[in-house]
């Protein structure tokens, strides 16, 4: 696709961004929360073994 094509259909892409915005907001909030969690240093990988068996059928 050429740059000219992208510019010619800018209206379509810009309208599409309105649908992308909620995703970007949620991802941004998640990244911020993850960063806060890491700063707090509350990861404890050794304590992450579930004793619940997940059953799976056919």
């Amino acid at each position: 696709m050429t740059p000219a094509l992208i510019l010619a259909h800018a209206g379509h892409w810009l309208a599409g961004l309105l649908y992308l915005a909620p995703v970007l907001i949620v991802v941004g909030a998640l990244l911020y929360q993850s960063w806060k969690d890491r700063r707090r240093g509350d990861d404890d990988p050794d304590d992450d073994v579930s004793d619940i068996e997940v059953s799976q059928g056919p």
Binding site: Y19, P22, S50, I52, S55
Partner: protein, 474 residues
């Protein structure tokens, strides 16, 4: 919280409530009317995202223990063996008649019953029925019935001398079903002669032949459970249903109760991504974005020596494959995000563990994209059943019955589509939350892992609404 913040929050919640509480009216698979919406379409995506975030919080607060990992099924009643045989015979007879109509009937697509039966009743109506009533296709599956009957006859005639089937290769998993669904979707969405009744009849026979060969090599049940594309496809949707037909009996279970027991054998994630991707491409191919890209792709393939028709098919092939890959990539991103929480689990293990969460999403996409097709084109069966070959006969006296396009408005269909997408993704989020509680020892890690699934669900919802919106604006 400040009063301004409270007001803002009330406004957002109000928009979400209005967006979801308004009564339903039609856009669909090529059947789009004028919609009269109170708010811009993009605002529905925002409202849907708010609903998903609210659902996520609700699950974190109210759903502290896994409840769906081992559901209790209650046996309701048994079904006589004769009914099973009868249903199989009906399926075979119906299949034989549909193929006969494809060859013997008129080759005008709208007058021959075969294209409508395949694209509307087989491909669209059965997923709806499966989600409501369980795996009904399995009872009428014609190639399965023929395979079972052949196996029964071989045992009767050959006794112990009949050869044992080969062990089904674990690496093959559900990959044959992936190929089958992708090829069918390609025929439906890309192939230039998709409506040609005789070609559809040939393809139906070829598919049945492949199934019979597969069953003869690997055994009826082993092949049918993994490799029969349509059997597996409809079977996935049946996992959503509270009804479970097995061992010639009907069992009841909680809604979505069949999803967590999905065994993520090879190809399972690919199949689910293909299911969502092909439906997404159906919507995308009706929008302005694709229609602005496709001439350039078509020119590119024409420059390689393809004629206009094949160049268009090549462009569509690229589109459908890219869309399936995009869906797979989106899911993979969510999985990679989950990997950062707690003990590092292999991405493949996590992808398999959460694969079943894609089932209600695939169903939501089917409902959202094909509801209007079923609502309108589905009515054509009255006329086609009375004149299945399109030769002017009127067997039932309903050959002149038309399609009522006014029973549901375009706006109503939009609300059905939005409702289906939101409900499907909330269901996916619920399944993912429940699986996370079972996988992670600490509830906090389970919730943190689901941040990423929330992002995936919001992305799928907004993508679905963007696709529907683009199709509606065409």
């Amino acid at each position: 919280m400040s009063s301004a913040a409270r007001r803002a929050r009330r406004a957002v919640v109000g928009v979400a409530a209005v967006a979801l509480a308004l009564p339903a009216s039609a856009s669909a698979h090529g059947l789009v009317g004028k919609q009269d919406l109170p708010i811009p379409r993009w605002l529905f995506a925002w409202a849907a995202a708010v609903v998903l975030v609210a659902s996520f919080v609700g699950l974190a607060v109210l759903w502290a223990q896994p409840r769906l990992q081992q559901v209790v099924e209650r046996r309701r009643f048994a079904i006589p063996r004769v009914l099973e045989v009868l249903a199989g015979a009906v399926g075979v007879a119906f299949f034989a008649f549909a193929v006969y109509a494809g060859f013997a009937g008129t080759q005008a697509a709208t007058a021959n019953i075969l294209p409508t039966v395949i694209y509307v009743y087989f491909w669209v109506a059965i997923p709806f029925l499966s989600a409501a009533f369980g795996d009904v296709f399995r009872a009428f599956n014609p190639w399965l019935a023929i395979g079972k009957a052949t196996g029964w006859a071989a045992r009767r005639l050959g006794g112990d001398t009949a050869p044992e089937p080969l062990p089904y290769p674990p690496w093959l998993g559900r990959w044959p079903a992936v190929v089958g669904v992708l090829v069918f979707a390609w025929v439906e969405l890309v192939y230039a002669n998709k409506d040609d009744p005789s070609q559809l009849a040939v393809m139906a026979l070829a598919y049945a032949a492949v199934q019979l060969v597969g069953m003869s090599l690997y055994g009826v049940q082993a092949w049918s459970n993994r490799a029969d594309a349509f059997g597996v496809y409809f079977g996935f949707f049946a996992r959503v249903s509270p009804l479970h037909w097995r061992d010639r009996a009907l069992y009841t279970r909680p809604l979505l109760g069949g999803c967590p027991s999905l065994r993520p054998v090879a190809g399972t994630v690919a199949l689910l991504c293909t299911m969502i991707g092909t439906t997404s491409f159906d919507g995308f191919s009706q929008g302005t974005t694709w229609n602005s890209i496709v001439p350039h792709l078509q020119d590119f393939f024409a420059s390689l020596g393809l004629n206009a028709e094949h160049a268009l098919e090549a462009a569509g092939t690229v589109g459908i494959v890219v869309m399936c890959c995009l869906i797979g990539l989106l899911y993979r991103l969510g999985i990679l995000g989950m990997q950062t929480v707690g003990r590092r689990r292999p991405a493949g293990e996590l992808a398999g563990a959460f694969a079943h969460t894609l089932i209600p999403i695939a169903l939501a996409y089917v409902v959202a994209h094909y509801f209007s097709l079923l609502a309108y084109q589905g009515q054509a069966i009255a006329a086609l059943a009375s004149d299945p070959l399109g030769d002017g006969s009127d067997l039932l006296g309903t050959a002149a019955t038309g399609i009522n396009y006014t029973w549901i408005s375009a706006t109503g269909i939009w609300y059905v589509q939005v409702g289906a997408l939101v409900l499907g993704h909330v269901a996916g989020l619920t399944l993912a939350h429940d699986r996370a509680l079972a996988l992670y020892a600490k509830a906090r890690d389970a919730m943190r892992s689901q941040y990423w699934m929330l992002a995936v669900m919001v992305a799928f919802t907004c993508l679905g609404l963007w696709l529907l919106s683009a199709a509606a604006q065409q």
